[in-house]
Each structure stands twice: as structure tokens, then as C-alpha cells.
Symmetry: C2
Subunit: 290 residues, 2 copies
């Protein structure tokens, strides 16, 4: 087998020139790269000036000049922050929106061209997800979200599909005790999503009762991100949310086909208990006191 390090370095070289090409694409619209990056950060929903500065790693003076330059071009306008008049909030003008869309079109066209000329686009995407997860493991963030938002629905869809593959007789949500979304929202419960650069790669639900007991549901980690201790991080966040809601006892049901999850529960202080529901899918039941 070839030296792993030289394989990685070949990858670096291939990707460096691709990234370089992307940068020159950004330069293609007659604007320096730094300014274009700020415009795109705003277009992607970053509004707070400090947030953009932090995301792009810019000096405050430089950031200020980039913003002035975008304002002079008529692409961006800044207004004071509603709650703190020291801070400023940036947003695109209609002209800025059009310019942002032009950048998006450039990136999208590149991405589509890459996929279109590849014989196995699905395999290529899966490989890119795996690499992106490996490289970006330090940039994964776990945040509370609504269990009905698009990101949550994506995670749940993947979760059901995975159960369908794992269980011998498949999986049908309708037969399972699907928790009411309201039970996974504050103040009764919570729903947590792990994202990497905006892409959802894992989730967990905390189904509350309003009392001191709650249940962990829907723990899922994207195949590309497995082994990176994301499940553990999600469970820790769910337990923290439970403590925050004054929950004292957590329960969960699981299935012996879900070996990674079972190993995680056993390693993090969960103890097996008797069956506590009549859902047809689970065959193992756990409890943890907080």
C-alpha cells in the first residue's frame, strides 16, 4: 500500500488548486477577495459585524474598511444593533443581493460541473462528507433547534432510513411511538442539532413531561461523522438541557442492533432497566439519574 502521508499530501495539492480556482472565481467579479468574502458572509446570513469578523478572522480596522468599501459600492448597508448601539448589523441591499446571487451561481456551477462529470456522484459526495467531517471536527457546533425545522427533519429522515436498514424487519414510523414535537420543545423538552459549517450531521431529542422525568429520543449521527465522539457530545448537551429543565431521571429505549449507541449508553452511566413501554421496536431500556 502507498504511504498514507503522501496520499494525504496528494489530496492537499489537488484540493489547493481547486480552492485556488474558486478564489480566482471570486476575484472574477472585479472585487478583492477579502471584500468578496465579507459580502458572501453577509449573504449567508451573518449580520453582526463582530460575528463576521470573528468568522473570517479579520482585524477590526480591516473589517471596517471592507464594510465601507461595500457600502460605497451600494451593496451593503449597516444599521445600529437594536439592543446595543455600539454594535452594527450589516445587511445586503437589493443590488447586494444580486451580486451575492452571482457569486452563489459561480460556486454552484463549479459544484454541479464537478458532480456532472463524475461517474459516481453519490460516492463522490459521500467521500467529500467524510473528509469534511474529519477536517472540520473542531468546528462542529451543537445548538438547540425546533424539531420541525428543515434541518431537524433532514436528521429525522436519515434516522428513520438508518433504522429501516438496521432492523431485520425494517422500520415504520407510524408503528412507533413518535413523540409529539411539542414534547421536544421548551418548556417541556428540547431538540439538539449538531451542525458542521451549516450542514446538519447529528441530532438528539429530549422528550419532556413537564415533571422531573424525561426521555432521550432520536439520537442520530451522520455516517460520515461517526467515530468522532459526536454522539457523546450530543448526549452531554441533552443531559445539560435536561438539568436545565430540572429533570431528575432520564430514560430511553433502544434496540440491540444499534451497537454503537448501546456502547455509548453503557460507557456514560446509563443502567439497564425493565421494559417501560409497548413500542414494538425497542428491546433494551435504560435509565440515568442526573
Amino acid at each position: 500500500m502507498l504511504d498514507p502521508v503522501s496520499r494525504i499530501r496528494r489530496f492537499n495539492r489537488a484540493v489547493t488548486s481547486e480552492v485556488g480556482a474558486l478564489d480566482t472565481g471570486f476575484l472574477g467579479r472585479g472585487r478583492p477577495l477579502g471584500v468578496a468574502r465579507v459580502l458572501n458572509a453577509i449573504g449567508h446570513g451573518r449580520a453582526d459585524v463582530a460575528d463576521i469578523r470573528d468568522y473570517l478572522g479579520l482585524d477590526s480596522g480591516l473589517m471596517s474598511r471592507f464594510l465601507r468599501s461595500l457600502e460605497e459600492e451600494g451593496l451593503v448597508e449597516t444599521v445600529p444593533h437594536a439592543a446595543d448601539a455600539r454594535r452594527r448589523v450589516a445587511r445586503l441591499t437589493p443590488a447586494g443581493e444580486r451580486e451575492f446571487e452571482a457569486y452563489e451561481a459561480l460556486s454552484n456551477a463549479r459544484a454541479q460541473a464537478l458532480l456532472a462529470r463524475h461517474p459516481k456522484p453519490d460516492a463522490l459526495l459521500a467521500a467529500m462528507d467524510l473528509v469534511a467531517s474529519a477536517l472540520g471536527r473542531d468546528r462542529v457546533s451543537v445548538v438547540e433547534a425546533d424539531p420541525a425545522c428543515p434541518e431537524a427533519r433532514h436528521c429525522l429522515g436519515e434516522y428513520y432510513a438508518e433504522l429501516g436498514r438496521r432492523f431485520e424487519r425494517g422500520f415504520d414510523v407510524a408503528l412507533s411511538r413518535d413523540p409529539d414535537a411539542a414534547d421536544m420543545r421548551r418548556p417541556r423538552g428540547a431538540f439538539l442539532i449538531a451542525t458542521s459549517d451549516g450542514i446538519p450531521i447529528g441530532c438528539v431529542g429530549l422528550k419532556g413531561t413537564g415533571g422531573t422525568a424525561a426521555e432521550i429520543k432520536r439520537l442520530w449521527v451522520s455516517p460520515a461523522a461517526r467515530g468522532l465522539r459526536l454522539g457523546r457530545r450530543l448526549m452531554e448537551a441533552a443531559e445539560a438541557a435536561a438539568r436545565d429543565l430540572a429533570v431528575e431521571v432520564l430514560r430511553l429505549d433502544s434496540n440491540s442492533a444499534l451497537v454503537e449507541a448501546l456502547a455509548l449508553y453503557r460507557a456514560t452511566g446509563w443502567s439497564e432497566i425493565e421494559r417501560f413501554n409497548d413500542d414494538p421496536y425497542p428491546d433494551l431500556f435504560f435509565e440515568k439519574r442526573l
Copy 2:
């Protein structure tokens, strides 16, 4: 399923910051990035000044200044090209070698750290190979090489391993008519290797007789690079080499398990003929007149 384009763009972001981190690592040795890149290009075997300039996309004036700066540091020396006194050839001094090694150690340490903390390093490497092949398909070069060089041996090893997996009863080189390496070297034959950024990803052998007949052997394409028409390119290069050797008739033997190769032969003017050897593995035989 998530939008493929946003998955690719997440990949781009993950990789951009990785590449950026690598660049700042390169800056850690107190030398501007441009100069460091030239030093590394020379260390990686690029000697011709014009070649380096082309590879790094530099203006000739800038390139010249970078070289002067490296010469002043005592890391590089330039001498006139043996055949063309206008051109210059750069090479590392012993001090330059040491400095280059220090950069190499930095890159290698990064790569090893990435692998070490990943749960499935083999899967990660395979994914990186696939992505690198997809991105670098325009940078694949097919060159003649010695059939006993390390790159060729790597390809042949992978080829035998693949046959072992594909054939029901496995594959043992000792039982096959392994061509003598001398038959795949000029002036009797040729051996061609496809490389992507220095990594071998495919090969083909032309086994000559010294007369007007020759045989195609050992056509192999790395799994990560399949579907990118590399097999076709290798065969075209082999046919060109055969014409160059005044070969008029090409033959080859194959096996019905090698479906991609068979499709390629049938699509590129080969016609099936009677068995022409008693090798135990092949069950299909082809011929092509040049």
C-alpha cells in the same frame, strides 16, 4: 437527501480552512509564503525555473525575485541549463535541503495527526483518494516508466490484488505467464504509468517481441480513479507506443470477470479471436490491427 451543492460547499469550506492552516504553518519558518512555495517546489524535484513558474503560476519577475531571495539565504543555487544557456536550473544547497526537510516534517506531522485521530483511517484515505482523483482529473499525466520502478511495482501489486478479489478461485502470479520485464522496456516494448500529483493511479504494459506483433498486459486503474476514462487514455498511449515501435498487430488476453476492461476493448476497435495461449486465467482473447 441534502442538497448536493451545499454538501460540496461545506467540503470546500472545511478544506479551505485546512489549507489555510497549512499555509500559516508554512509561514511559521519566518519566510513569506511565496518564497516557501518555491523552495518546496524545488525540493519536490522541480528544477527548471520555467517549470516552477508554470506550476506555481508566477510572473517571471516575481519568480526571479523569489529565487534571488532564496539564493541570498544560501538555500538554493542556480546554474545554466546544460542544453540551453538562456534557461536556468535551480537546486537546493545542503542548507536548503535541511530547510526543505523541516517543511516536509511540518506537512507530514499534520497528515499523521489527521489520520491518528480518525476512527477509520483507511476509509478516510480512500475518500481522500477519490476526491483527489475527481478534482485532479485534468492533471493526470501518462508517462513511460521502467516496469521495475517502485511506482510500477505498486501498480502491479494492486493489479494482482484486484484479480485475486475478482476471480472466483483467486489469482496467483506464479501460475500466470508473467511477462519478462525486459519485454516491457524499450526497444522491445514499453510500460506506461498514469500519475496524479506524483501518485501512481494506473498502468499498462506493452509486451513486445522485437517483431511486428505485441501484446497488451497489466491494464489497471486505481478504484478511486475509475470512470474518469483513464483506462481509455492508457490504452491510447500504449497503442501510440506500439506504433512508434512499428508494431502492426496487438493482442491481449482477458477474463470475463473484468467487465469494465472488456467494454473498453469492444468500444475501441478490438475484435475477439481464438485462444492464443494456455495461461489458466484468461477466457477471452482480442486482437487489434494498427
